[in-house]
């Protein structure tokens, strides 16, 4: 995968625009709006499943851009990247291609919580994503701004049920039709940019604000509830202006571990990797923040921002008198910029400069100033708002670029989505990424992939598929979103996963690749074959270890260094011995070369399996229970308020508001009593057998579920 040669960017753009000239009137199965992390994964996944897919982005050359920090993965997030890769997504391989500093976080805390992470070269990442999309069959990329989302009037037989028919681009009279549309518009939904006391519409600096038509359709025509969130990004620092000798050097891992299960090494050679630097804030930083509060309107508003990625303003205000970490991260192999992680801020540019210079290593630092203005501003319509934006932008751009700024944006309350990420009230409309209230590249990519899969399956008349929280972090993410909703930007943590010791980064391929090929259809047969080979080898190796059942005295003779306890087990197996803290598979293989040496390439995975096995066994029962509940789906058209079942008004209102899609999701809702669950189950069981409605989507689903329904059981 890493050996392929990327086509030069220029030729890619030519090819795309050539395509663009004659696509406008076609019909597609799936249209993806937005070319960020969610959009690119969604488009690639939809095409892999077999749908004719169109990706529409405002600017083709920013597809795959890293608009905030130049890094991928981390604790919790790395798990998501591994899972996206296991489902044949793009970002893991892109990370291996673009990474310039690889490290596994939490190395000392146990393999279940290892966090694979990489600093990325922005340009290489973008190039890889763009070339990957270009070489994906059935995928077309089009530059344009979506003016309108086309939906039908609600079906009188099914009140509230709209259906998506396509989109209309700005400056185009003809609509482009599609069975599914995926919106991945990020922070652009009614987005406003904040810096100092100035505000302007937009979702990212340098880009035009998205059309008001889209938010109008979502809110007014489809009646979707929205909320408002905020985020921010730090200024970029000129590397030469920083005195790096005053910062702590943080080298990468000496052996760079790739994200992708397909890769054995990364593109960047281990010795060529770039370091990161660590510095700390000083009391001066706190002083500058406090002095400039009156100039900072973003921080004064009470829109919810992320608690775990706060601006420097909220950090020093909430935890005064401390010094906070600031990481200086490389932006690329040849880039002359540094990204100051932890210094996201929204004050006026001159105050920003004053603030960063309070940090010793940056006492002479300069904020990056670009040479030329981006051309996007000339094509804006000159309404009142955009004029203001234009002036502000030129003010920023004239003196500082790229300064830190804040963004406030609308998100669609994700409890209005199904676990397939489809808007419940609108057939064929899918949402993914920040529009659902999440933050982070990996969270967006994970949703994008799953929305892409389901949008394609919807368009191709295949039943929807869901990932359970018992089998993946992606399942945890989607379940948390659709059944609990968000009150602040949602980020993945390992502590959100109940079955953390089972959902490990090392076994993501066993958990998802096989299912992804056999049930979902988003995994190539090449990757599938590889995963099958891995699974079979692991099974053989585990069987070999189990069959090594020897008496303690023989173990001691073969492996003199291991601390054997006599009493515990009469005949310990190889699995038991491998669980010991200081026994590695390598040492076992050298003691028993005849039966274990064929499996040396899996030595690390086998060691991890051995350690976690007893705990996974304990969790299995709980996992099975949840899966049984999740296999009981609740029809989306139940009228909970008038259901002839004994439920309290409070429970009815919760159910009506959230409309859980499975019994499992219903049991996790706050305020739902065990009794209510039993009544629901009873109702669903009996009506489910009687009614069978002629509906192209539901019929498939029902037939699929009949055998399951029979062996479902009640929650404990």
């Amino acid at each position: 995968m890493l050996t392929k040669k990327l086509p030069p960017l220029q030729s890619f753009l030519v090819q795309v625009s050539r395509r663009a000239s004659h696509v406008a009137r076609q019909q597609y199965d799936v249209i993806v709006v937005g070319g960020g992390h969610a959009g690119t994964e969604a488009a690639a996944a939809a095409a892999r499943v077999g749908a004719q897919t169109l990706l529409v982005s405002q600017k083709i050359h920013t597809i795959g851009a890293l608009s905030c920090n130049p890094s991928l993965g981390g604790v919790g997030k790395g798990q998501l990247v591994k899972e996206i890769d296991a489902l044949d997504g793009v970002c893991g391989r892109a990370g291996d291609w673009a990474g310039i500093h690889f490290s596994i976080l939490n190395r000392s805390k146990g393999p279940a919580v290892w966090g694979p992470r990489a600093q990325l070269d922005r340009q290489r990442y973008r190039e890889f994503i763009q070339s990957e999309l270009l070489s994906t069959p059935r995928l077309t990329v089009l530059e344009g701004s979506v003016e309108e989302l086309l939906v039908t009037e609600p079906n009188p037989e099914e009140p509230g049920q709209h259906r998506v028919t396509g989109i209309r681009l700005a400056n185009e009279s003809h609509p482009i039709s599609a069975s599914s549309v995926i919106l991945t518009t990020g922070t652009f939904l009614s987005g406003s940019l904040f810096m100092g006391q100035t505000t302007s519409p937009g979702g990212r600096i340098g880009d035009a604000p998205s059309s008001a038509g889209l938010s109008h359709t979502l809110r007014e025509r489809l009646g979707l509830r929205t909320g408002r969130l905020r985020t921010g990004t730090p200024p970029r620092i000129v590397k030469d202006s920083v005195d790096l000798s005053l910062a702590q050097l943080h080298p990468p891992d000496s052996h760079s571990t790739p994200f992708s299960f397909l890769n054995t090494h990364t593109r960047c050679k281990p010795e060529e990797q770039l370091p990161c630097y660590l510095t700390y804030t000083t009391p001066g930083v706190e002083r500058v923040v406090k002095e400039s509060l009156h100039l900072n309107c973003h921080i004064q508003q009470d829109t919810k921002g992320p608690r775990y990625c706060p601006s420097i303003e909220s950090r020093v205000l909430r935890f005064p008198g401390r010094s906070h970490r600031v990481w200086l991260e490389p932006e690329g192999m040849t880039s002359d910029l540094l990204y100051p992680q932890g210094l996201s801020m929204t004050m006026p540019p001159d105050v920003q400069l004053r603030l960063i210079r309070e940090i010793p290593a940056m006492h002479r630092a300069e904020i990056h100033t670009p040479g030329t203005l981006p051309d996007i501003y000339v094509c804006l319509q000159l309404t009142d708002l955009t004029v203001k934006f234009y002036l502000n932008a030129s003010y920023f751009l004239g003196r500082w670029w790229f300064p830190g700024y804040g963004v406030q944006y609308d998100f669609v309350c994700p409890t209005q989505l199904s676990p397939a990420l489809q808007v419940k009230s609108t057939q064929g409309l899918f949402l993914a990424g920040q529009i659902n209230g999440t933050t982070g590249y990996e969270e967006a990519a994970a949703q994008g992939l799953w929305a892409g899969v389901n949008a394609a399956r919807w368009a191709l008349s295949m039943p929807a598929v869901a990932l359970s929280r018992t089998e993946s972090y992606i399942g945890v993410l989607i379940d948390d979103l659709v059944s609990r909703g968000v009150t602040e930007p949602y980020r993945m943590f390992t502590s959100r996963a109940e079955f953390r010791t089972t959902l490990r980064p090392d076994n993501a391929d066993l958990r998802l690749t096989l299912k992804g090929f056999e049930e979902v259809g988003c995994v190539s047969s090449f990757r599938y074959q590889k995963a099958v080979r891995v699974r079979d080898s692991l099974q053989d190796a585990l069987a070999a270890l189990q069959s090594l059942a020897l008496s303690p005295s023989i173990w001691r003779k073969k492996m003199p260094d291991i601390p054997m306890s006599e009493t515990k087990n009469n005949v310990p197996t190889g699995m038991d011995i491998l669980q010991y803290n200081d026994v590695s598979f390598e040492t076992m293989a050298s003691a028993f070369p005849e039966c274990l040496s064929p499996y040396m390439e899996f030595s690390q995975r086998l060691k991890i399996e051995a350690v976690y096995r007893p705990h996974s066994e304990q969790q299995r029962k709980e996992i099975e229970r949840i899966q049984r509940e999740e296999n009981m789906s609740l029809p989306q058209d139940i009228d909970y308020l008038s259901l002839p079942v004994s439920l309290s008004q409070e429970v009815r209102e919760i159910l009506d508001r959230v409309r859980p899609s499975t019994l499992g999701a219903a049991t996790r809702l706050q305020g739902i009593t065990p009794a209510a669950v039993v009544h629901l189950l009873n109702y669903v069981r009996h009506t489910g057998q009687k009614e069978r409605r002629p509906h192209r989507y539901r019929t498939d689903q029902r037939e699929d579920e009949e055998p399951r329904a029979r062996n479902t059981s009640l929650p404990r």
Binding site: T494, R620, E624
Partner: protein, 511 residues
Amino acid sequence: MQPSVYHGVWRAAVHTLRTRGTPPCRLLSTAPLADAETIFALSSGHGRCGVAVVRTSGPASATALKHMAGLTRNLPPPRTALLRSITHPQSKEVLDRGLVLWFPAPHSFTGEDCVEFHIHGGPAVITAVLQALGSVAGMRPADAGEFTRRAFQAGKLGLTEVEGLGDLIHAETEAQRRQALRQMSGELGRLYQDWSHRLKRCLAHVEAFIDFSEDELIEDGVLNQVDSSVCDLQAEMERHLKDERRGERLRSGVQVVIAGATNAGKSSLLNTLCQRPAAIVSPIAGTTRDVVETALDIGGFPILLSDTAGLRDSPDLVEREGVRRARERVEQADLTLVVVDCAQLSSAAQQAAAFIRGHLTSVLPTQEQPETVFPTDRFLLVLNKSDLLPEEQKQKLDRELRCVSGLPPVCLISCHTNEGLQDFLTVLHSSVKTLCGDPLSGAPTLTQARHRAHLQQCFAALAQYQRYRDMDMALAAEGVRLALTSLGRITGRVGAEEILDIIFKDFCIGK
């Protein structure tokens, strides 16, 4: 759906092993236990009874039967009563002498292996047997309605029974909730809450260490703090589990609370019922300020009757506290007698009903404010001072109020003349009888056994933290998670968001 590929690996590994004919490994021998836990509970009602029935269901039932009935070799013939000495499986101490019955699967109520112990009905015996069962490996106290649910799973219930299941579980969970509330407001409750609070902090700190310490400034001392907290908790739990003294005597019996406005005659009702002047009675409003408790026997069922301060807003500090206590008691009560001075009622039935509704709403605990239906089975309406009404109005009121739907049962009495008292006792008796049919209400022994089992699990899980602390933080954290889950079954569930809240409150997380 396939459980997960990962488990497939294990199944395949086990399969290979079997075919190769190697001796059975641990994996195989523990498999049945992992499939289903065995549950036990007191199945007979609470109250004065000669025989109590304790039931178990699940794979460990046979082990429990063998160990506790001294059946070393064979199990008794199915479905045949056998008189045995019932002993503690570890200490071999004889707990009681009673009948045991063995119902092997699938011919049992739940479709699983079941055992019934018919023992003497005294609380000491019941407690001892329940605690003995809890000490058998793989056994735990049943959750509300769990026997019925297992029966439902096994297809052992008919359609009508299934339809009643939801209501049954509702009743049981409600009874448990009230029972738990009663205990949680005492010394014991404060202790468990404190442990839960400390465990939450431990977990939050461990999770912060896992999720954030690579990028953020999590002080090095965080884990040391957790270590010492876990040690302290372990020591305290161990002491608590060993302590044979009861920290507090748990109030036994159906909890009946008298509540209402001042001067409605609540204390007179108490005195009338217990036939002695247990509470001071005077014409001055606000005479009763504290809760007056007295144990009674109504038709053979034990009840604990509490008289409370009249509900009104008072500037008096002592009275305000009395009203707070009164409201707390109503919340914990199995049955509330709402006393109304019937002289205050309008002679028109509709207006009287409206007045009563308003009155009930003011007495009801806020969380149970009626949605559409009134929880009529938990309230009795006592219209006192009937002697002050003219005869015809009395009859009219009585007749018409009975026709108003949505009101709890109404009794018109006079504590002064004892008029209507007999009818009232009949109504009270039938309510108490219904409540006693529910084995959970007012049975502190069962709650104690349950608490004990959960505390033991919690204690064991903390040992897992200690074991993995220096090897694998994910597994160590798993131990704290398990501990908190076990304790959470006493004090209430703790969700992931709550842990994240503590993390963000205690640490400055910036990545």
